[in-house]
Assembly symmetry: C2
Homo-oligomer: 137 residues x 2
């Protein structure tokens, strides 16, 4: 199960970097309720505003690539249908920490909630190089 | 179910404001895996580092109160044992957006993951008063 959830998490970041709107749409849940909190944004509730926000991000030529790493899976529900991934992100030199909540829909792990927020360099515990090293490990 | 999850969410913020370490400890899951991403912090994984971080926050005399509002429940797993609350927070005039993931343990909703991050004032869509009004509604 953990491998499948991590694969879904990687597919999310791959769709981000490939600016692939169709892949991003396919990654998000269809039956489960959907929400998203981009860094610095307010809560977006519902599939339509969430997908609209992603299309805006993917269609922005100035949007830098994202590097994700250090993913850990929290397997939650006893029925094995819900999991939370916490991971690190690096966008244009800015370290972030993220929550990705997945639900199983028709035997496929789908993203139903994403939050990402900046990590203060003071909290990284050292210079940016250390955050980069951690993400790469 | 939604009312019970919202009550657990309110108990979390009440423990925060009352600086009640025992209540905060009781709110977090014991069987489910636990994680936490405080604003500006890296990912904390595991009950021990998460509770240690909360005790540090609650024992800090300079820690301001938190106002939480606009909570919405995403009911996730088919067995009804997992739910995500997204909400707004206001700490010392700083607007934040938060994710709180709850699991049902022995018929009680327990927090297993929290992430909170700052909302840029530009994204609030107006002056801070608007964020305050939204939180109060």
């Amino acid at each position: 199960m953990q491998d499948d959830v991590l694969a879904a998490n990687e597919a999310f970041y791959r769709a981000f970097n490939q600016k692939d709107g169709a892949a991003m749409d396919a990654i998000w849940a269809r039956s489960a309720p959907v929400a998203c909190i981009h860094p610095g944004w307010n809560v977006l509730l519902g599939r339509e505003p969430v997908m609209e926000s992603w299309l805006g991000i993917l269609n922005n030529p100035a949007q830098p690539r994202i590097v994700a790493g250090g993913a850990a899976v929290l397997a939650l529900s006893p029925d094995g249908n819900t999991a939370v991934v916490v991971c690190r992100e690096l966008v244009a030199g800015t370290p972030l920490a993220a929550t990705n909540v997945f639900v199983r829909e028709e035997d496929t792990w789908k993203l139903c909630h994403h939050q990402s927020g900046p990590v203060s360099l003071e909290q990284v515990g050292g210079p940016l190089e250390r955050a980069r090293a951690c993400l790469a490990s």
